[in-house]
Subunit: 345 residues, 2 copies
C-alpha cells in the first residue's frame, strides 16, 4: 500500500531579525512529505488554503529576550501563523478528510498538526473561506473584544482608530458606526483614506503621513476630544492622542505597529493626561477572550449576510509571495487584511 | 456695635512658576479683616487651624495652558487648599459659630467662605483634627479609592507603592496589608524606608535614590512580578515598573510627582508591555469619588480606633512656615503627610 509523496514548499526563518525585517529574512524551501498521518497518531494532515499575515508575527522573528505571551520562531524551522485548511488525512476522531478548519498552522503547503484540538471546524461556508483568518477569525474577534468589551462604548461617543484600514481597524470603525458613534480613522495613503470613508462608513479619515502636526490634526477632527482611542500604532500618535482625549476616555491598546521594528522605542511624554483626564488605558490580546468566539461568530456572520459589515482583503497569490506579503505589513503596503492564498480547495 | 478687626496673615502667589517652585514664589503678607460675615450674606467666616500641603497644588502654580480639572492660582491672590477650620461667624443656616469643618479654604489665618456648602462638618473629634486633611480627608479617600476600587486587589497579590511614605502612599500600603497582599514601598531616604517597614508594616522597602538600576531593584523585590502598582511618581520609575508587571496587572495612576516641575517631561519607552501583559492603567482623581466618603469615613475611623491604621504627619508650625512646607514636598523633605498648623482651637 503506497502513499502519495509530495514536495512540500515551505517558508523558514533564516535567522533572528533586528530592526525592520526584509524578504531575505524568510527563505522558501521544500521538504518531502507523505500525505498521510503517521500510523497510530491522532494528528491531522492539513492542506493549507490561506495563510494570514499579522503584525504580531514580527515579535516572533526576534531573538526572545523576555518571556512573552507568544513564543519566538525557530531559525531554520517553518514559521507558523493563522491559516485556513482542508483535512487531507486524520488520526483524530473529531476530524475527517474533507473537513474545513482554521487555526494555527505552518507556512507551507501541507502541515501535520500534532494537537488538532486547537483547530476550529468551519461552520459557515457561504462566505469566502479566507474570512476565517480575517473578519471571522483572530482579527475579527480582536476588533470585537477591543471595541465592544475593552472600550466600554456608548452611543454618540467619539472614536478614533489608527491603522484604520487594516485587518482589525476596518472592523473597529464599522462596529463603532453600528453602535452609533462618530468615527474617524487614520491610514497611510489616499487610497486607504478613501476606502475608510466610501467603503467602511467612517465619518472622517486622514492620511497621517501628510500631517506634520498630529495634535493639530486630531483637534481638527475632534474639537471636543476623543472618548475612545483604538490603539494600533503607538509612539508619536499615542502622544498626540493623549493630549486630545476627553475626561473618562478609554484607550484600548491592541497593537503598536510603529514600534515593533525599532530597537530603541519611541518615547511617550504625555502620560500625565491619564490622571488629569482620568483615562483608562488597557491592553488586551485575543487569546484571553476565546470564550466569546461563538457569540461573536453568530453576530458577525449575520451582519455580513445583511451587508452591515464588509471586509476588504489584500490577497497575495502563492506561497512564493508569502514573505513579501508579510514584510509588506510593516511598510503598510497592504490595503486591508493581508492574506496569502496557497491553494484552491 | 463694633466688630473685632484683625490683621489676617496670608500667603499669596508672587507669579506663575516655571520649573521647580521656590519659597520666594510665595509671599507672606496680611490684610485687615472684620471677624464677621457681611450682613445678609450666607457666607461662613472660618478660623483656619490646619492647612494641607498637597502635590496637586504645583499644577495650580503654573500658567494655565490647557484646561485642567483644577483651576490655576491667581498671582497676587491668596492661594487655596484643603484645610481644617472652626466657624467664627456664619450667615448660613447649616453652620454656626464653633462648628469644626474641613474643605477648601485660603492659605491665611481667617477665610470668608462664600459658598459654605463645600465644607464638611467634622463628625468625630476623638482623633487629631489635622487627620481631616490627611487620613480622613482627600489623601485618605484617594488612597482608598485608588487601591480598593481602581486597583481591583485580591488577597495574596503583590503590590508596589512609590512615594510610599507620603500622605497617600502610607495608607495604600496599609490598605494592601489589610487585604492580605505582599507590599513593597519605595521612598527617598533611609528614615522613610525604616518607617515603611517598622510603622506601616510594608513587607519590604527600598530607597530609590540608592538604586542605579530600578529594573534590577524591582526584580529583587518582585521575582515573580507586580500585580498592582500604585503610581505616585511617573517617569523612569514607571518605565521600570512596566517591565516588571505581571500579566493582567493593574496600574492605578494617582500622581507623577517626579514630572510636575519638568518643563520637558521624562519619556516612557516600555508601553508595549501594556499589550503583552494585558495591563490596565487607569488614572483617577478623588473628586470623582466623593460619594464614597461616608462609607470610607466609617471604615477608617474604626480602623484608627482599633489601631489597624496609623498615620504619620509632618507638622510645620505657623503660617510663616507654610511656603517652605509646600515647596519641601517637591524635594521630598517631608516625612509623612505635610501639614501646616496655623492656630489652636
Amino acid at each position: 500500500m503506497s502513499t502519495e509523496k509530495v514536495k512540500n514548499k515551505r517558508i523558514t526563518l533564516k535567522d533572528y531579525v533586528t530592526g525592520y525585517p526584509k524578504e531575505e529574512d524568510l527563505l522558501l524551501g521544500s521538504s518531502d512529505l507523505e500525505l498521510k498521518v503517521p500510523t497510530g497518531s491522532n494528528a491531522v494532515l492539513l492542506k493549507n488554503l490561506y495563510l494570514s499575515c499579522d503584525p504580531y508575527m514580527r515579535a516572533k522573528m526576534s531573538k526572545p529576550l523576555v518571556k512573552s505571551y507568544t513564543d519566538a520562531f525557530t531559525p531554520g524551522s517553518v514559521i507558523t501563523g493563522y491559516g485556513v485548511g482542508k483535512v487531507v488525512d486524520s488520526g483524530h476522531p473529531n476530524f475527517q478528510a474533507g473537513d474545513l478548519v482554521w487555526g494555527i498552522t505552518g507556512w507551507e503547503e501541507y502541515t501535520l498538526i500534532k494537537a488538532p484540538e486547537i483547530l476550529v471546524k468551519i461552520k459557515y461556508t457561504d462566505v469566502p473561506l479566507s474570512y476565517y483568518i480575517g473578519i471571522l477569525g483572530m482579527p475579527g474577534l480582536t476588533a470585537y473584544v477591543g471595541f465592544n468589551v475593552i472600550s466600554s462604548p456608548k452611543k454618540g461617543e467619539t472614536v478614533y482608530v489608527s491603522a484604520a484600514s487594516g485587518a482589525v481597524g476596518q472592523l473597529v470603525g464599522q462596529f463603532a458606526k453600528l453602535m452609533g458613534c462618530y468615527v474617524v480613522g487614520s491610514a497611510g495613503s489616499q487610497e486607504k483614506v478613501d476606502l475608510l470613508k466610501s467603503k467602511f462608513g467612517f465619518d472622517e479619515a486622514f492620511n497621517y503621513k501628510e500631517e506634520h502636526d498630529l495634535n493639530a490634526a486630531l483637534k481638527r477632527y475632534f474639537p471636543d476630544g476623543i472618548d475612545i482611542y483604538f490603539e494600533n500604532v503607538g509612539g508619536p500618535m499615542l502622544d498626540a492622542v493623549l493630549l486630545n482625549m476627553r475626561n473618562h476616555g478609554r484607550i484600548a491598546v491592541c497593537g503598536m505597529i510603529s514600534q515593533y521594528n525599532l530597537t530603541e522605542k519611541d518615547s511617550v511624554h504625555n502620560l500625565f493626561c491619564i490622571i488629569s483626564k482620568r483615562i483608562r488605558m488597557e491592553g488586551f490580546i485575543e487569546p484571553d477572550h476565546k470564550h466569546l468566539y461563538p457569540q461573536f461568530l453568530e453576530l458577525v456572520i449575520q451582519y455580513i449576510r445583511e451587508g452591515k459589515l464588509v471586509y476588504v482583503e489584500d490577497i497575495a497569490e502563492g506561497i512564493e509571495n508569502a514573505p513579501a506579503a508579510l514584510i509588506g505589513l510593516f511598510s503598510g503596503r497592504n490595503v486591508g487584511k493581508q492574506v496569502v492564498s496557497i491553494a484552491r480547495e
